[in-house]
């Protein structure tokens, strides 16, 4: 007779919010390094600005609400919000962009709703959407991957572009984004979209220099790096597989179907998975424990929904990438998902 060994249901991991959050930003490091390698030093400045803004905004809110400031600083959730927003926006975007976005995320999306654990919407993504619909030009001006850029920006040059709009040599952001042929280039997803709208096939669109072997040049490695970080989080059991698995599946299944039936007009599933913010979204953004569904089954549905919305907006919608919108839309459905996926307590319900 064997006794099955199982942990008691009430035993828990003694991980504080701070430790969870620390794992999250440690796991972001590979992706961050890839971003720096391909898109330059700008992201470091954005990170600095975002973190300072988040701390100041958090302190201001906590003191207005009459709560201890240090308590909010120590749980590191504002820090993670700031980091996620900073790596989502273009590296050379002007300084006020990230300041407005982070302040909005922390003050309106987090504290107005009641602070840590009370917010309905993912703060970083709500901040991102605010910036995207308010400042579409700045938010889509991604720098070229350094491999095909004519310019090499040093650490201080990037700061100069972010704070003054020009490099010390006098080039502005628009000039920096020009390829060797003198045309500014959009991001891979944006170029694909434009090409498809101009009746080109995907094969023809992929001839542009901005594409690499799997997906966009640079973007593919950035996404793979985020995937690596995400797998570390899975291994550490900071997140469960349900949300990222659901989201990637929800994106991959319709993408594969579309690609099988209309290979010339559809983006390949690999491209979908390794473009834009797919991996960052799947492992770091959608998995926010506060705004995601709570039960495992609910999390799976939540992820599937996000994946499908991303596919739908990328294919038929007005924006080239859609992770932020998809996450916010799915956040709204969480109460419904939670209501219908509530696990049955032991001894209740069942067939008898």
């Amino acid at each position: 007779m064997t006794f099955k060994l199982a942990a008691s249901p009430h035993s828990h991991q003694r991980r504080t919010t701070q430790q969870v959050m620390r794992w999250v930003y440690m796991a972001l490091i590979p992706g961050l390094l890839a971003l720096i390698y391909f898109f330059g030093w700008g992201v470091i400045w954005q990170l600095g600005l975002a973190i300072i803004t988040a701390w100041v905004a958090e302190a201001a809110c906590m003191s207005l609400r009459g709560r201890p400031i240090g308590f909010a600083w120590r749980d590191h959730t504002a820090l993670v919000t700031a980091i996620l927003l900073a790596i989502s926006i273009p590296g050379l975007a002007p300084w006020w962009l990230i300041v407005i976005g982070t302040a909005f995320a922390v003050i309106v999306v987090k504290h107005v709703y009641g602070g840590v654990g009370q917010n309905i919407f993912n703060p970083a993504m709500a901040g991102y959407v605010l910036l995207l619909i308010s400042f579409p030009v700045q938010m889509t001006s991604w720098p070229l991957p350094q491999q095909i850029s004519q310019f090499e920006l040093s650490f201080l040059d990037s700061a100069s572009v972010i704070f003054t709009g020009f490099t010390p040599a006098g080039y502005n952001l628009e000039q920096l984004r020009m390829g060797a042929d003198g045309l500014t280039m959009a991001t891979p997803l944006d170029s694909l979209r434009t090409a498809l709208n101009h009746q080109l096939t995907v094969g023809e669109a992929l001839q542009q220099p901005i594409f690499g072997d799997l997906a966009g040049l640079g973007w593919q490695w950035v996404n793979l790096a985020f995937l690596l970080g995400g797998l570390v989080l899975l291994k550490q059991r900071i997140i469960s597989w349900h949300i990222p698995g659901g989201m990637l599946l929800g994106l991959m299944v319709p993408a594969t179907l579309a690609w099988m039936f209309a290979p010339d007009q559809s983006v390949s599933p690999v491209m979908h998975l390794l473009s834009g913010a797919t991996m960052l979204g799947a492992f770091f953004i959608a998995t926010d424990p506060v705004t995601a569904a709570t039960s495992n089954r609910g999390r799976l549905y939540f992820g599937l929904l996000i994946g499908f919305i991303v596919f739908a907006i990328r294919t038929w919608g007005g924006y080239p990438d859609a992770v932020a919108f998809a996450v916010l839309l799915a956040n709204m459905t969480v109460p419904v998902i939670d209501k219908y996926t509530q696990p049955v307590a032991y001894g209740h319900g069942g067939r008898s």
């Binding site: 407005i100 107005v112 605010l130 619909i133 308010s134 400042f135 700045q138």
Partner: protein, 228 residues
């Protein structure tokens, strides 16, 4: 209900926009600038006063069962009048408000006042109630329009000449000028967010007043009965 109570109700205590949350559709849709807000506020005010007076005058002859259609007809008549007047005299504003002028008919604040107040009170009080509710509604519209216009455009009273005539072009105040305005404030979500903050502000003021008015708790001092 005294006239003082009626005005306090309309302007603050039972403000149609801040407390009853009625008429949110025009409130949120047209308040991108102060001028639009003022125009729509005045139009609503006139309709409200007119419909309140009429409803109050005919209240004895309207059977209870069909009162709502009658009220709606009365309101629609006044809205049509206002719409034609605006078309004739403030054509620019008429165009920029567009569909939201005819939609005043469906503004629940108006039918709400007709039902809740005008159909139960003599016409002078009903007229005064319409005036105060309308002013309360207009003030909220102006505040909301001002906030959104300053944040989203950096100006105040932009295009006031559309409403008030050519001299009003001088009213335009440029508070700051940026290359890239915060579009969100002009877009509908900005209206919801700003409205939320205004309501929160009102609640905070109420809370503060309550706390100030609260009577200090009577202190009970205990007499020491045991000796040291």
């Amino acid at each position: 209900m005294s006239y003082k109570e009626i005005s306090w109700n309309g302007l603050w205590e039972n403000n149609p926009a801040l407390v009853q949350l009625l008429g949110l559709c025009p409130l949120l849709a047209v308040t991108a600038t102060v001028t639009n807000a003022l125009g729509l506020g005045l139009a609503t005010l006139l309709v409200l006063v007119g419909s309140n007076i009429t409803v109050s005058l005919v209240r004895e002859w309207v059977p209870k069962e069909i009162r709502i259609p009658v009220f709606v007809m009365v309101i629609a008549t006044f809205v049509t009048v206002i719409q034609l007047l605006m078309n004739a005299y403030v054509y620019g504003l008429y165009q920029s408000l567009g569909i939201f002028i005819p939609l005043i008919v469906t503004n629940c604040a108006i039918i709400g006042r007709a039902e809740a107040f005008a159909s139960k009170n003599p016409w002078r009080r009903a007229a005064f109630d319409g005036l105060m509710m309308g002013v309360g509604f207009t003030l909220v519209l102006i505040v909301l329009g001002g906030i959104r216009e300053v944040i989203g455009n950096g100006t105040l009273f932009d295009g006031a000449d559309l409403l008030l005539g050519d001299w009003a072009a001088a009213l335009r105040i440029e508070i700051f000028s940026v290359d890239y305005p915060l579009l969100l404030a002009i877009l509908p979500p900005g209206a919801f967010i700003a409205m939320g903050f205004i309501i929160a502000g009102k609640n905070w003021i109420d809370h503060y007043r309550e706390q100030r008015e609260a009577k200090p708790v009577k202190e009970v001092t205990r007499a020491r009965v045991t000796s040291q």
